[in-house]
Structure formats: C-alpha cells, structure tokens
C-alpha cells in the first residue's frame, strides 16, 4: 500500500480507537491493537509499540484535566508508580519469549474482561475514614470534591494494591495497553478508594507505566515512526471528540455498541491466536 493511503486509513482507525476509548473509559490501547492487527494486517509487535505511544498521549491529555479538578490522589499515584514501571520494564523482556499467537490469546482474554468491566455499574464507595496501617504511615489519606464539599477518605490494603499494580505493569508492557481496568480494580476494590479517585488516579499513572515500556520498545525497534504518526494523531483527535460527546447525555447506546465491537474483536483475537494465524 502507498504511504499516503495507508496514513489516511490508519488515521481513521486511530480516530475510532480514541473515540471508543474515551466513551467506554478504557483508553484507546485495548481497541487499537486488534484494529491494527486484524483490520490492517500490522504485525502485533508494531501494533503494541504504536499503541503504547497512544496510551501515553491519551492518558496525559485526560490526566491534565482530572488533576486540575482535584480528584487525582498524587500520593497514591506516586507510591504505586514504583510497582508499575518495574512490571513494565520486565514485560518487554518476557515478551521476547512469548509468541505472537500467545500474545493474541492473552489479548483476547483481557479484551473480553475489559468489555465486561465497561458495562459494570459504577458504584460510588461511601468514603472510608479508617485507613490501614501502611496507608496511614504513607499518609495516603486525602479528600475529593463531591456535591460541592470536600469528602475525606482513608486508604486500606496497600500491599494488595501494590502487587496488583506490578501485574498491571507487566500486562501493559506485554500487550501495549494502559491496563486501566486492572489499576482501577486495585484501587477501587482492593484499596477502597472512591471510584472517581480510582479512575482518575489510574489515568494519571498510565502515562508513567506506558512511558517505561515505550522506552524499552523504542530500543528494540518496535516503534515505527511512519506507522505511529497517523495512529497517535488519530487517537488524540478521537479522544478529544469522545470527551466532547461525553459532556452531552445519551452516550449509553453508543457505549453498548462499542462494547459489542470489543466483544467481537476479542472473539476474533482469540480465534486468530488459537489457530496460529497471528
């Protein structure tokens, strides 16, 4: 294919991935990799490299807004960020021993799980005021804006959250995704942070996780500039468009449609991986 036509098609694909990522709250990576591999026949390693770059772009763009609103807990983020880059630096080392087919299968499973997660009801925790021992020692307790007032919350089960973040780092590097789903689970379920604090802090952390593995993949030659260029610009445009749409009501049918697309992509990734076509 000629560079110009390939660029335009990829720009469209990136736009779609950015839009889906913003509307489902999952980030673009989990949609982008299947789109590039299944739709455009891109080798999964190039797809992972490009996706990581996009993950940094969307998470930094979104984090900029969230941090200003005061939802993000930068201490929790910074402490847990010790775990994710360690996982992210190990991921590319592990990736060398994992075949493309196996990667596709793991990807299919994560995609299926993410689709289920995007449909889950977002339940807001009642703020926990009793912090755990480690949570208190690390001074992780903070406040977040809720109904015009600042609500205090404590943080519990820090070691469990830390371990899950390590796993999120490996997964992120292996698959080229932000692993936001795992990060939110770690903070929301394990550490009992308010849901909005969990999602925004997860977003804040994703950039650092992805930057760690993107640096490694750059050295390994996985990041192809000509492929990355339309993908990252498309994803950024799609994410901005998605944020605009989210501000309006009635995105639910759209979210359902995108979740259905994700399930279809997951099935296809699993099929292609299991039959060794990828």
């Amino acid at each position: 294919m000629h560079a110009l036509s390939f660029t335009l098609i990829t720009l469209g694909g990136g736009l779609l991935a950015g839009l889906v990522g913003a509307l489902t709250g999952l980030g673009g990576g989990v949609v982008l990799v299947p789109l590039l591999t299944l739709g455009l026949g891109v080798d999964i390693r190039y797809a992972i490299g490009s996706s990581l770059v996009c993950v940094i772009a969307t998470s930094s763009g979104a984090a900029a807004a969230f941090v200003r609103e005061g939802f993000t807990n930068i201490r929790v983020g910074m402490f847990l960020e010790i775990a994710t880059p360690v996982g992210a630096l190990l991921g590319p080392v592990v990736a060398v021993y994992v075949s493309s087919s196996t990667l596709a299968v793991i990807f299919g499973i994560v995609l299926m799980f993410s689709a289920a997660q995007s449909l889950r009801q977002r339940v807001e925790h009642i703020a926990v005021t009793e912090p755990g021992t480690l949570g208190a020692r690390l001074r992780l307790a903070s406040t977040y804006p809720h109904d015009g007032t600042l609500v205090s919350y404590g943080v519990t089960r820090v070691p469990a959250g830390f371990a899950m973040m390590f796993a999120a780092g490996i997964l992120s590097a292996l698959l080229g995704i932000g692993s936001g789903v795992v990060k939110v689970l770690a903070m929301d379920r394990a550490m009992h942070l308010p849901y909005k604090v969990s999602t925004t802090t997860s977003n804040f952390m994703i950039g650092v996780t992805a930057a760690a593995s993107a640096g490694v993949y750059l050295h390994r030659g996985y990041i192809n500039p000509v492929l990355v260029m339309p993908v990252v610009l498309g994803v950024l445009a799609g994410a901005m468009l998605g944020a605009r749409l989210l501000a309006r009501a009635h995105v639910k049918p759209l979210r359902m449609l995108f979740t259905a697309i994700m399930v279809a992509l997951a099935v296809e990734m699993l099929y292609q991986g299991l039959t060794k076509r990828i």
Binding site: S60, R68, T143, L218, H219, V226, V232
Partner: protein, 129 residues
C-alpha cells in the same frame, strides 16, 4: 481543617503545575509529529509501506542520540520519532516536577518515592530495560 484536608490544599498547587505540564507536553509532541508527518508524506507519499512482518527499526531510530542526529539532518522520519520521544518524556517530566513539588512541601518520603520512579523510567529510556 483536618490534616488530610490541609495537605490536599498544599497538593493543589502541585496538581495545577502537573496539569499544565501534561497538556503542554501532549500539544508539543503532537505538533512535532504532525510536522514530521507532513514532511514525510510530501516527499515519500507514494512510497510502498508494509507492516505485515516485523523487521525492527534501524538503529538510528532506537536511541535518543540517533534521533537527534537525524533531526539535525532534517530527516522527516526522525522528526516524527522526536515527537514520540517528547511524548515519552512527558510523564517522565511530570515525575521530575513531582520531586520538586514534594521537596517544597518537605515531604522527604515522597521525594524518595518520586526519585525512585524517575530512576526506573530513565533506566528504561536510556538502557532499554
């Protein structure tokens, strides 16, 4: 005001700076990528591209020094890669700003925390894991 609320207020100034930095980094990197992309398409728009098989990028595009050398030559592909490097640098700069922010609050535990994260990130970028 509770201790947590007071600290939340202290962190607020840091949060504002981090937000501005993240936004600026993304805009700068997207602009550089776009410029490199337009230059590439203007000169190589008709070239054949294929990503079906993984060959790996040339050595020059794999290191910070190599990319900068390419940019100095005016190579469009290197300019795109510079945009990618700026994007990778954005969260790293964010961590560096956090080190300064926590130092101003005399929160040495978190200064150490941020420095450790910064070291891990620099290791990945410079040594490739």
């Amino acid at each position: 005001m509770s201790e947590a609320a007071e600290r939340g207020h202290e962190d607020f100034a840091l949060e504002q700076r981090l937000g501005a930095l993240l936004r600026g980094g993304v805009i700068l990197s997207a602009s550089v990528t776009l410029i490199g992309g337009i230059m590439f398409l203007a000169t190589h728009g008709g070239a054949h591209v294929s990503y079906h098989t993984f060959t790996g990028e040339p050595t020059e595009l794999r290191t910070v020094g190599g990319v900068i050398a390419g940019v100095a030559r005016g190579d469009s592909i290197s300019i795109i890669q510079l945009g990618v490097l700026l994007l990778i640098a954005t969260p790293i700069a964010r961590v560096a700003i956090s080190v300064i922010g926590f130092a101003r609050e005399r929160d040495w535990m978190y200064v150490g925390c941020s420095l450790l994260v910064l070291a891990l990130l620099m290791y990945g970028l410079v040594h490739g894991g």
